[in-house]
Symmetry: C2
Subunit: 340 residues, 2 copies
Amino acid sequence: MKKPTRITIVEVARKAGVSLGTVSRVINEKEGVGSVLREKVLSAARSLGYVPSFAAQSMRSQSSRAVGLMVSDISNPLFAATVSATEEVLYRSGYNMILTNSRDSPDKEKEILDLFQRRRFDGMIITLSKEEDPATLRVLSESRIPTVLFERESTLPLDSVATDHYSGAHQAVSYLLKLAHRRIGLITVTQAALPGRARGLAYSAAHKSAGVPVDASLMSFDGFLPDAGYHAAYRMLVSPRPPTALVVGANQMPGVLKAIRTLKLSIPKKLSLVQIGDTDVASLHQPPLTAVRWEFAKVGAAAAELLLAKISGAVDGSRPRRIVLPTELVLRQSCAAPAA
Amino acid sequence: MKKPTRITIVEVARKAGVSLGTVSRVINEKEGVGSVLREKVLSAARSLGYVPSFAAQSMRSQSSRAVGLMVSDISNPLFAATVSATEEVLYRSGYNMILTNSRDSPDKEKEILDLFQRRRFDGMIITLSKEEDPATLRVLSESRIPTVLFERESTLPLDSVATDHYSGAHQAVSYLLKLAHRRIGLITVTQAALPGRARGLAYSAAHKSAGVPVDASLMSFDGFLPDAGYHAAYRMLVSPRPPTALVVGANQMPGVLKAIRTLKLSIPKKLSLVQIGDTDVASLHQPPLTAVRWEFAKVGAAAAELLLAKISGAVDGSRPRRIVLPTELVLRQSCAAPAA
DNA sequence: GCCTGTCAATGAAACGTTTCATTGGTGCGC
DNA sequence: GCGCACCAATGAAACGTTTCATTGACAGGC
């Protein structure tokens, strides 16, 4: 390993014939340095190839200019657009984003949260696999790092940014009920976290206000399991009393579509279909799928903005802020009244 | 801001009644501390809620245990699976991943590379918007940080990990030529970087060996522009001598499919279609799209592994390592012989 | 011509670790 | 019983910055 000793501020100061403090102020573009010396320092720094050490800066200034992001599954394509917007906002404010993947393991979540503490991140944006995992909550409540929950809510007084999954699912289910569907399947993720829970509640509420009884066998919350979409859809569709419509999370939809194709069911003739989360798969499908839509980028940006506000102290921490972003139902051609 | 002074190693040492060095060795699980003291230190640390400062550690140890990733567009869904695998491999080796988004701007790329220097990252994995941008190359050649180019290649002796885009495109075009297509469109990204360039070359080579002349108006390399897929496909398809087949990058495909739908062309009757990069959009399309396939996760993992090897010094830097991962052509139902 | 206020520049302390040369005990061989 | 090697533990230096109290110089007011 070639290690010809890094150039430090000391070498620059010596070469420019000034003191450490002066170099520091030039580097940080602070007031109070004459233009002659400023130039001298700058040219010395350039010629030596000086690069400030972030570690030293952040140790001294007690700020890492970094934010940790913990998501349950990076490869989830819905996250891609979201995370991109988050990064954009953070970067513009001079923060870097460390991305980690908990793979929905509570153990790994705890590990990552510990890591974030050690790294002294200035803030963190996180999803939790289970919102009420006691070990995780303990770590969180002891943490002094400004935190924003992402697509999650907690009994702890934590700020959060989330999509209005309840309304989204409610719109979708109500719409299908109005089309006279009486057996509607719901295929989504675990109820241990906001998106699945809200959808389950909305599903029941919509049924209740329409006076339609709920059949628990038509709800599947296994979405995080591999092939969950396929299995859940297949099971429901071959049952004695199959659903006439399906409301499906975007990540489960590929599996669901495979099941539908296997069973050769025509859409919307035999089966109506609504996707939660509007993706290319939905809009390009034949027929195009009716979908619950929200702006991925806006959620990601909102989370970053709330976090930045907390870091700067602009938002008082006395009462948790919960930001909820709206959804809309995009009607396409995948829904019809059920066959008589 | 409440800042009741962070607990440091000093407080722990005082409380446990030992020296700094002893605490340090306990924390880092090093040899040479008696079990009595070890326990004392541990319990003192626990009761004080001590958390080591990463900044101080990394300043002292000259290692940031962090790796920078610079991609041209995080929201590109193809990257999601790739980046996820990269993170996984890095995390397992104790490295964190800082994700940045250059949005294909050379200026921002330079800025990000500078940032990586200041942060003293232990390594970086990067895509470049233009492989031969002189300013960027200068920064890179002066950098002392182990670097792996990702889906890019350079005249500089830099290590790289990439998919075999040349073979992939060659397979696709040859297949269509064999089906007797004589006017094949290619819609992909800029030739200033490996994927687009390799595809362009493969396109020409395949035509040459089949003795079919190349029509430059059937190639579009604007893929990074918004709606590029739509515009390129539309232009080609309404031209006097439209193509009978299209080879399209995964990110351009949604736009292309919209154009096809607008023009009401049936697949594969009127138009054959091959997608480069196998995504849900391809496999779920009706009819399912023939696609050039490779394992996204493997590319991401390979990049991380090569970088880790370089960081640890396991791979000698004398000659650049270029890892190329294979592709295969997945035949589905979107291709047929051209209509007479 | 002296005092004061302003401003550029300095020097040293502080940030929280790790490392390394020392010290102080203990057990062992002879 | 003496010296030696060994091991646990110590204390101080070092890592590369920022910050802050101080100094020095200079101009202006009286």
